[in-house]
């Protein structure tokens, strides 16, 4: 038998058939849907006179376009209200589980999937959202799809995909103080570039990864897409099994034992071949921040924006355009740059551990007067847990604005928009032009750096206040 990667094993186990000189037909175990990318897919089904093939494998939530205040009231904006109503109607009609606003399971699709045990090792998982790669932290094949593909999976529980190439990224060693998994992934993307992973499915390995919690692993897999990769995954281990035990939708009792046996078989064979390999040393990673308009434009917070002469010829133009948009200059220091907003949330860093990190850092301090800080939990459960642990009291005392769950300023579809020209330190995943609102300028960073910046009002290395 030839040695195989974990990716190969899961892919092959889901292969229904292969089209001659064409894509593979893959069976999908879990399909997650939300209000923005599903309505046209349901409409397409209807047009073809089809029903949903396997409604029990689908889970729905309303997250992208919902308000993060007064969620008990009807949604004020008409278009958003319609979108959410349409989702509810489609789910009811087709018998799909929906965890909508005010449901105890409500939250961002990539936060609730893992939290409820819907996400499990060895599965194939898709969702009409590119950060579906988050779920790969459990050792499954999870990737984002477009609406035609959503329709495809609704109709047949299958998807047609070209087999991607495989890449292994190994990170070994102990992390420096103040360095989080967000810094690891921002560092990797800064090294490989925003398109460095295109065409690949990444497996993350190494001692640094194995030492991370499930939530920290999710942050890494989440941003795999920001280097263009189709997805990222991490082989399951004791930390994964412990996390899944007793979750609502995870196998229970005897089934858990059986599942465990299967999950333990999910690893890359030692002789297996990857199309590409990269190695990083944890010690070389420092707290990171982005200065430009794609997530690959990141530097250590103590560093300076590169000089034009150090930028490869073919990237000079986009580098200059990015700095112009950001109102920054080559060679500038990032530290000390005045900021206006801080956003803590999203499927990258909106989990309970992120809120704990943030709250622990700001405890006993006060928010800088002229900075607006939005703290948006990734799910209802995260919100409740944060309350239970007294985090909300700490945060309220420090003067922060605590919201209700949703994608919020990560993509600024609802009213949580950073105004034009303003600077925001954000724990989310994209710093594209206009991503957080028309004209908004985003610095991506970890929850720790977000905490430091909300206290000083300027970009600050987390270690400087400790």
């Amino acid at each position: 038998m030839t040695a195989k990667t974990l990716f190969d094993k899961i892919w092959e186990a889901h292969l229904v058939t292969e089209v001659k000189e064409g894509p593979c037909v893959l069976y999908i175990d879990r399909h997650l849907i939300h209000e923005v990318t599903s309505p046209q897919a349901f409409a397409g089904l209807e047009k073809r006179g089809l029903g949903v093939f396997r409604p029990r494998k689908i889970f729905a939530t309303a997250d992208h376009n919902v308000p993060t205040k007064d969620q008990h009231l009807p949604i004020r904006e008409e278009l958003s209200r319609n979108q959410v109503a349409k989702l509810t109607e489609n789910c009811q009609y087709h018998g799909i589980s929906l965890f909508g606003l005010n449901h105890p399971y409500h939250g961002i699709v990539h936060v609730i999937g893992p939290e409820l045990g819907i996400t499990q090792p060895g599965m194939t998982i898709v969702c009409g959202d590119s950060h579906t790669s988050t779920h790969g932290a459990f050792g499954c094949l999870a990737f984002g799809i477009g609406t035609s593909e959503v329709e495809m999976v609704l109709a047949t529980q299958c998807i047609m995909q070209q087999r991607p190439k495989t890449m292994r990224i190994t990170i070994d060693g102990k992390l420096n103080k103040g360095v989080t998994s967000k810094d690891i992934i921002l560092y990797i993307i800064s090294q490989l570039s925003a398109s460095g992973g295109t065409g690949y499915f990444v497996e993350y390995t190494g001692s640094t990864i194995r030492d991370l919690s499930m939530e920290a692993r999710m942050t890494i897999c989440n941003m795999s897409i920001e280097m263009g990769a189709r997805g990222g995954l991490i082989a399951p281990d004791e930390i994964t099994y412990d996390y899944l035990k007793d979750r609502e939708f995870a196998p229970g009792g005897k089934d858990f034992e059986k599942a465990l046996e299967f999950w333990k078989s999910l690893k890359t064979d030692s002789e297996a071949n990857f199309d590409r390999r990269h190695f990083f040393n944890a010690e070389e990673i420092e707290p990171m921040i982005t200065y430009g308009t794609n997530p690959g434009m990141g530097i250590r917070v103590n560093g300076r924006i590169p000089l034009l002469k150090h930028i490869p010829e073919e990237n000079k133009e986009s580098f200059s355009n990015a700095l112009k948009y950001m109102g920054l200059k080559p060679g500038m220091k990032m530290k000390g740059k005045k900021i206006d907003y801080v956003f803590v949330g999203s499927c990258t860093n909106g989990r309970i551990e992120d809120l704990r990190l943030f709250a622990d850092y700001v405890k006993g301090r006060k928010k800088a007067g002229d900075v607006t800080v939005w703290i948006v939990p990734g799910s209802k459960r995260v919100e409740n847990q944060a309350r239970k642990e007294g985090l909300y009291e700490i945060l309220e005392q420090a003067g922060f604005d605590l919201r209700q769950p949703g994608c919020s300023a990560c993509l600024a579809m609802n009213e949580d928009k950073v105004p034009a020209g303003k600077y925001a330190v954000s724990t989310s995943n994209r710093n594209f032009e206009g991503r957080q609102g028309p004209g908004a300028r985003t610095f991506l960073a970890s929850p720790l750096m977000a905490a430091a910046a909300s206290i000083t009002g300027v970009i600050t290395a987390p270690g400087d206040l400790l």
Partner: protein, 202 residues
């Protein structure tokens, strides 16, 4: 849903010589609130066409009446970012049928092919040639022949072949899509389901 068959297209082009154009540029998230597939063309490249005060940006190429055509020519790594198919819809809805670049983001490429918008990937040097030709004379035309998998600058006769998956090519040439294909093999899918071992995966 593939809307129309694609065989050959001859057209002038609209050049957008920018790398890493992401899906938030193609169609900003705040315009994704509709529940239908149509009408997104109005907001294609919205934040480049209009300033934040909603003033028309005359410098932007889509607002320049000299440039017309059904082919969009863009810099490398086009369509990176979100999986939103709305990005491909917006380009299609605006009237484009082909996007030419030296590199496409994965999901965008899939999405485009799924709706009948043809992504043509050319070499970086051929892309530069096209941009330079358009700069000299914005009336020049490109000819794209899907069957021959060839792109040609009509004026100079320079040509290059491009890759496309044979299955996808057939879909475009015949105007059918993946769902048609999958519905045809439904029995195989059910057979596959019955073979699955683990109940929690069933």
């Amino acid at each position: 849903m593939v809307k129309e068959k694609f065989t050959t297209l001859v057209s002038t082009c609209i050049p957008l010589r920018i790398d890493n154009i992401d899906t938030d540029q193609i169609i900003p998230a705040r315009f994704l609130k509709a529940t239908s597939r149509e009408g997104y063309g109005n907001n294609l490249f919205r934040d480049w066409r209009f300033s934040s005060e909603n003033v028309l940006n005359r410098d932007f190429v889509l607002n320049n009446p000299d440039f017309k055509g059904r082919i969009l020519v863009v810099g490398k790594n086009f369509g990176c970012g979100s999986s939103r198919e709305h990005a491909a819809w917006a380009i299609f809805d605006y009237g484009f049928r082909v996007v030419v670049s030296s590199f496409f983001a994965d999901i965008f490429k899939n999405n485009a092919l799924n709706i009948g918008l043809l992504p043509v990937q050319v070499s970086p040097s051929f892309l530069t040639k096209i941009f330079n030709q358009i700069a000299e004379d914005h009336k020049i035309q490109l000819k794209i022949e899907l069957n021959a998998q060839e792109i040609m600058i009509l004026k100079t006769g320079e040509r290059e072949s491009f890759e496309i998956n044979q299955y996808k090519k057939n879909c475009l040439l015949n105007g059918f899509d993946d769902i048609d294909y999958l519905l045809n093999i439904k029995e195989k899918i059910i057979e596959f389901e019955n073979r699955k071992q683990y109940i929690w995966l069933k």
